[in-house]
């Protein structure tokens, strides 16, 4: 495309009004079905979120063979639990260990594994995170309250293609007695992006 300077690029002034006007135009023209919009919103507000990823992580923690499959072919192993589809078509899972810490970013836009984590939080899409995660991951992690020892190797994954990344966090010490469901309840969104570790709630050590 040669017209990389648009004279008429439309920049919304009041987004709520503009979106309402656009929806009503597209509905009147029969281009979109408002009920389809409701269904899409409902999906990501209530059905698809970090709970999906947490179930995958918990399964990997209790089932070593599953973990092996998950790290070798994320997409297939995740499909075993019934997950996949939009923005999770091609999944790569990277494992945190006491020696290696992984962090996911998309510097060029905001690519994110929707099928595992739902829609991305504002900070993930923000300029501070996108710009500094690659050049100063330890500084960014510090802002999340996570300070890594110098001898821990940090690996940042920049989602420049259609591969979507999920961090398999370390299973917290003291969680040995917890079952898969209880483990899944511990896993947070941030831990699966790599900006946090999974910890037991205070006093919950089994």
């Amino acid at each position: 495309m040669s017209e990389h300077h648009h004279d008429h690029q439309t920049v919304p002034s009041d987004p709520a009004l503009r979106v309402k006007a656009l929806e009503s135009l597209l509905t009147e023209k029969g281009l979109v079905d408002p009920k389809a919009l409701d269904a899409l919103i409902d999906t990501y507000q209530y059905r698809v979120g970090p709970r999906n990823g947490a179930r995958v992580v918990a399964r990997a923690w209790v089932d070593p063979a599953y973990k092996q499959r998950l790290l070798a072919d994320g997409t297939s192993a995740i499909a075993e639990l019934g997950y996949g589809g939009a923005q999770g078509e091609h999944m790569v899972v990277v494992e945190n260990t006491p020696r290696v810490h992984n962090l996911i970013v998309c510097t060029l836009c905001s690519c994110y594994p929707w099928s595992m984590l739902g829609l991305p939080p504002v900070w993930y899409k923000s300029a501070p995170y996108r710009s500094r995660a690659v050049i100063d991951p330890r500084g960014v992690l510090h802002e999340f309250g996570l300070d890594l020892a110098e001898d821990v190797e940090v690996r940042v994954w920049d989602s420049t293609a259609e591969l979507r990344y999920l961090v398999l966090p370390e299973r917290p010490k003291g969680s040995e007695a917890l079952d898969e469901e209880a483990l899944a309840n511990l896993v947070t969104r941030d831990a699966m992006i790599g900006t946090a570790k999974v910890s037991l709630p205070l006093g919950a050590a089994a």
Partner: protein, 219 residues
């Protein structure tokens, strides 16, 4: 295009603001904007890469000022017009033209679950020989295309090692401009943090970037 969207390595945006217990959408219009984008995309008049490029075409000041969903609305509006689904006059007035013929939506509510479940695969099941293999030293080309590209500036000219071959995928640089899928191998390439950022970086840290055959040369 060397635009402000290609922000990896910039340092002056301030600290990351982390909101506790953030809601999925911060206002109802964000949800509508999100859904409109997917429902309009279901007409398959533009690729995801074309939409990404449309967002990149926002004036830099707007790109930085607008929220994520505001950028989506701006980009999808432009795509709706350039694809002919709506006219500029309709976009500006918010009303269908007198001679507008009512269409049947490309995506109905009952089709939403299956559309999301199947997704949109960017991989292609075609036999194309990879130009590189795992373990090989490669250099990201020093190129500055004026169109869409997924080769970030901070990697250009830098040397790394192929970590893994992901297989064959469509090529955004041509697809975004309706110049074909140009399928080719995508590799995860590991760059040492010191190669990218110099001696200030910790010696063992690294950045892995997914790069297409056309972005790479042997090192």
């Amino acid at each position: 295009m060397n635009g402000v969207h290609d922000m990896g390595g910039m340092q002056d945006f301030g600290p990351v603001e982390h909101e506790q217990n953030e809601s999925v959408f911060h206002a109802p219009w964000e949800g509508r904007a999100f859904a409109l984008n997917l429902a309009a995309g279901a007409w398959r008049k533009w690729s995801l890469d074309a939409l990404r490029h449309q967002i990149e075409l926002l004036p830099p000041v707007d790109y930085l000022r607008l929220s994520y969903y505001e950028k989506w609305v701006a980009a999808v509006s432009e795509r709706l017009v350039s694809s002919g689904l709506i006219s500029r006059a309709e976009l500006e007035s918010g009303r269908p033209a007198q001679d507008s013929v009512k269409a049947t939506p490309a995506l109905t509510a009952d089709q939403v679950p299956s559309m999301l479940r199947s997704g949109a695969h960017a991989s292609r099941d075609v036999k194309i020989a990879p130009r590189f293999h795992a373990g090989q030293r490669v250099r990201a080309r020093n190129v500055n295309p004026v169109g869409h590209t997924r080769l970030p500036r901070y990697a250009r000219g830098k040397t790394g090692a192929v970590h893994r071959d992901h297989g064959v995928y469509v090529f955004p640089d041509t697809l975004a401009h309706a110049r074909g899928e140009n399928p080719q191998h995508v590799y995860s390439v590991r760059f040492a943090a010191r190669e990218l950022w110099g001696d200030q970086a910790p010696p063992r840290d690294s950045v892995y970037i997914d790069l297409w055959d056309d972005y790479l040369e042997p090192a």
